[in-house]
């Protein structure tokens, strides 16, 4: 087992414990003699912002939260015509979108690692973590989210590590997707058709239904999606030496995708049961791993399902207890097709599955508005299975010389995450936050993760806020990085250590005229033991036998600043966006834009039933992945600028009916993302072309 940095961990634990005791003592002394504050010190506009819950697992105003947090509402999503979580997140200041041939991905403050597959951003649905411990392939940012985006009430984004309460995976940030289920939203049905490149693409059909009877509440939502996909042109294919290439590098009909999503929630008083499932398949136009080009049999499949029962109960004197028991099942499967044996592998399959049981207990004690104490524990037992094989061929275990794949790789292990957090107001202007997590992983070692923050309101609450935040995060190696091998391309590395990050951030918020919030953040993130796939030659006798192996490849320091704006003037104008500039101490860091920016604007000022919206995202030049590893894989890709527009009409005279015309990639920008060597000789993948979407939604009660 890895034992990362024990001495430092114990020192920080002692420090955090001392802070917690100090706060507890202050609270005890203050009981019965608490000074009342006049409510007029709270800014009314700040009170109109709904609270965020992701920072402390307890509702608080975002200006009070000890983190760089950004929230978008379901109405924001609707007005902008967003269809996927990636479309939402690329509008969040400091975040940017990229993708490979398998998944849409999201980078944070310049850091967009290759083959990340959402293993460094924790994705939650109503607080339930979706990320598996396997990470052979997952995203949640496309059509593979197990809840329809049309049923989302709010999305909260924490930028920066949040390991002190969530443990692993909350490494670059946290995305909490909050469904409409808790707010008794409207029932609705919706449908969508799309078209691009002069062709009609099938679209989506979905519905949600919410009902209540007495204390019983019921919410169910479902969506089906299908697209025949876009045509791509890869000029680099013309230089392919391993496979016959199509004329002009044109690949048509290989990017089709299907997805089916179902989400249900039933609650009775304090008791809630949730079930959710998503099944998605899609083609791979670049035919990665040198599989046959223009073969529709090259496909990946993801299935993410979970069931959860939870109880949240308010006890006396400000105590709240919540408990949860859940079962998750996450499946990845792919097929890549080659020429039939004996010339090649025929149909090659990879499979990864993580099934895990988890349970947690979470206690909140808020003896007054000035004090918050949070504690809890989450335990999980993972059962992972990985396999690679080819139809009708022996595995390497059966035939070390001619075998393909290694058969089943099974691992089962336990994780325990315990955390404590304290917030205390000192005087009328200052709040102190301290948190500590102790994470135990049976395979990858233990880790203490502290956090400390000060939130100072130098003027009236909610008008000006200064936050100073020190936080740490970590990411345990995934089971695929540590154990996956296929006998042909990948080698295991069970000796991997967890990645770590220490973050310092200074945030200044200022509310302009009530309705506009300006936020300036300065940050420094120190990453250690980052895991990346490295090409190695395992056999000294055969230097041409190159494999990929995950390795801890050292340190990285990022420094930067972010300026964000978030404005809301009733229905007339809603706008948010920002610019993030950052630098790395590593020259040529792959897929690292030194500047990213975005802006989303919508208005109903012209005519109340009509919402017009415009959004854009840009980023600076990036270095391609794995420069120098393969011919053509070096170099840079230029800056990108992608826009979208939406017109949304709430049809007058027909209550609840809305029609939407949306254009994604309005300018038809090329805007490529760098690809990994898996897609060689193709080194970059364009943004999907200009796509028109026509949608209708009918909401009713």
């Amino acid at each position: 087992m890895a034992q990362p940095d024990k001495g430092r961990g114990h020192r920080t634990a002692v420090l955090a414990a001392a802070v917690a005791l100090l706060l507890a003592g202050q609270r005890a002394a203050a009981v019965g003699a608490e000074k009342l504050v006049d409510i007029s010190t709270l800014d009314l506009q700040a009170l109109l912002d709904l609270p965020v819950k992701s920072v402390t697992l307890h509702e608080e105003r975002s200006s009070e939260a000890a983190a760089s947090v950004f929230a978008l509402s379901g109405e924001d999503i609707r007005r902008q015509g967003f269809r996927t979580l990636q479309e939402v997140l690329r509008s969040v200041p400091g975040l940017f979108a990229y993708r490979d041939d398998l998944y849409p991905l999201v980078g944070v403050r310049g850091l967009g690692l290759p083959v990340d597959y959402t293993t460094r951003i924790l994705v939650l649905v109503d607080g339930h973590p979706l990320n598996n411990a396997l990470a052979l392939g997952q995203s949640f940012f496309g059509r593979d989210l197990p809840v329809p985006l049309a049923s989302v009430q709010r999305i909260e984004v924490i930028k920066g590590p949040a390991g002190s309460i969530y443990g692993p995976t909350a490494f670059l940030g946290v995305v909490n997707v909050i469904t409409s289920a808790g707010a008794e939203a409207d029932s609705s049905v919706w449908s969508e058709v799309a078209g691009a490149q002069g062709r009609a693409l099938p679209g989506a059909l979905g519905a949600q239904l919410t009902r209540s009877a007495g204390d019983l509440r019921f919410f169910v939502a479902g969506e089906g999606f299908r697209t025949s996909g876009n045509t791509y042109t890869f000029p680099e294919l013309q230089g392919a030496s391993d496979r016959p290439a199509p004329a002009g590098g044109r690949v048509a009909g290989m990017a089709s995708s299907d997805a089916l999503t179902g989400y249900g929630r039933i609650s009775w008083r304090d008791l809630t049961a949730v079930g959710a499932c998503n099944q998605m398949t899609r083609g791979t136009p670049t035919a990665p791993f040198s599989s046959n080009l223009l073969d529709p049999g090259n496909r990946i499949e993801n299935r993410t399902c979970y069931a959860q029962v939870g109880l949240e109960h308010a006890l006396a004197n400000g105590f709240t207890i919540s408990t949860r028991a859940a079962y998750d099942d996450s499946l990845y499967r792919d097929t890549f097709r080659y020429d039939p044996p004996p010339a090649s592998y025929g149909n090659y399959h990879d499979l990864g599955r993580d099934q895990w049981f988890s349970g947690d207990v979470h206690l909140t004690w808020e003896p007054s508005a000035r004090t918050l104490l949070v504690g809890g524990a989450t335990a999980a037992r993972h059962h992972t299975l990985q396999r690679s094989d080819a139809d009708g061929l022996p595995t390497v275990r059966d035939d070390p010389v001619n075998g393909v794949g290694v058969g089943d790789i099974a691992r089962s292990w336990n994780q325990l995450n315990t955390y404590a957090l304290a917030e205390q107001a000192i005087g009328e202007r200052l709040r102190v936050h301290a948190g500590l997590t102790f994470f135990v992983d049976e395979l990858f070692g233990n880790r203490l993760t502290p956090k400390a923050a000060l939130v100072w309101t130098p003027t009236r609450a909610g008008v000006d806020v200064i936050k100073a935040i020190y936080s740490e995060g970590f990411r345990a190696p995934t089971a695929s990085e540590a154990f996956f091998e296929d006998g042909t391309d990948f080698l295991p590395n069970p000796g991997l250590k967890p990645e770590t990050v220490r973050s310092l951030e200074l945030v200044a918020e200022h509310r302009l005229g009530g309705a506009t919030m300006l936020t300036l953040s300065l940050f420094q993130n120190d990453y250690r033991q980052l895991i990346r796939y490295v090409t190695v030659a395992p056999d000294p006798q055969d230097p041409s036998d190159l494999r990929e192996r995950a390795e801890n490849v050292g340190a990285l320091r990022l420094r930067g600043g972010e300026l964000a704006v978030n404005a809301s003037w009733g229905d007339d104008l809603r706008a948010w966006g920002g610019v993030s500039a950052q630098q790395s101490d590593q020259a040529g860091l792959a897929n690292f834009p030194a500047v990213t920016g975005n802006l989303a604007v919508s208005t109903r000022a012209l005519w109340r039933p009509l919402t017009l919206s415009l959004r854009g995202a840009f980023g600076a030049t990036r270095t391609k992945f794995v420069a120098g590893e393969a011919p053509g894989f070096g170099g840079e890709i230029g800056p990108f600028f992608v826009m979208g527009a939406t017109a949304l009409l709430d049809v007058p005279g027909v209550r609840g009916l809305s029609l939407e015309l949306s254009v994604a990639n309005l300018l038809g920008a090329y805007a490529p993302s760098p690809l990994t060597i898996d897609s060689a000789p193709i080194t970059e993948l364009a943004e999907p072309p200009r796509t028109f979407r026509l949608a209708a939604r009918w909401s009713f009660r």
Binding site: E34, G206, L209
Partner: protein
């Protein structure tokens, strides 16, 4: 696809209404904050600001009023309103006359009316106007029906709705700064029309 078909069928056949309200914690802070914009508050209050929460006994939705009362009590432990301490009193609904008597007995400056009493707006409004208690409600239709202030959930953002005529009849004089932030309905007609 079977799930989708079930959902669509259920959506088409079902007709039980549902509503959405702002979390009680938000409503409580907003209610106290809005009171501080009332230039007549001190004239309508005694030594403390009394907020009455009316509820219908035994109604399934009265849980919302209970949560609201608890949230108001919590807020009152931390905040004053225009320098006055706040006090929270819960009153079961036994008709407009009984409510009026309770408002008088408690010296109420504000009356919160929850979802369970959404069908009693007219009687509540009359009692509140008699006793100069500023009324608050969580639903738009209750404000459109004659109550003074709405603490609404508008697609995951809080929104304030003011029935200006009703608020004046209930004895409040709301600051123009507040009226610039809130959505205003029921403006009195200009003189001469």
């Amino acid at each position: 696809m079977r799930l989708l078909a079930t959902v669509l069928l259920g959506a088409a056949l079902s007709s039980i209404p549902s509503r959405e309200v702002l979390p009680a914690r938000n409503q409580a802070l907003l209610l106290l904050r809005v009171l501080s914009y009332d230039r007549n508050l001190k004239a309508r209050s005694g030594a403390e600001v009394t907020v009455v929460v009316a509820y219908r006994e035994g109604a399934p939705r009265s849980e919302q009023e209970r949560e609201m009362a608890a949230a108001l009590e919590e807020a009152a432990r931390s905040f004053t309103v225009s320098g006055l301490k706040a006090r929270v009193v819960t009153v079961p609904w036994r008709g407009a006359a009984a409510l009026g008597a309770e408002l008088k007995a408690t010296g109420a400056a504000a009356l919160y009316v929850g979802e369970s009493l959404s069908g009693e707006t007219a009687g509540i409004s009359a009692a509140a106007r008699d006793r100069s208690a500023l009324t608050f409600a969580p639903l738009r239709e209750m404000v459109e029906g004659g109550l003074a202030l709405g603490l609404l959930n508008a697609n995951d953002r809080a929104r304030l709705l003011v029935n200006l005529a009703a608020s004046r009849e209930e004895g409040a004089d709301l600051d123009s700064v507040f009226l610039g932030i809130a959505e205003v309905i029921g403006r009195p007609a200009p003189a001469g029309r």
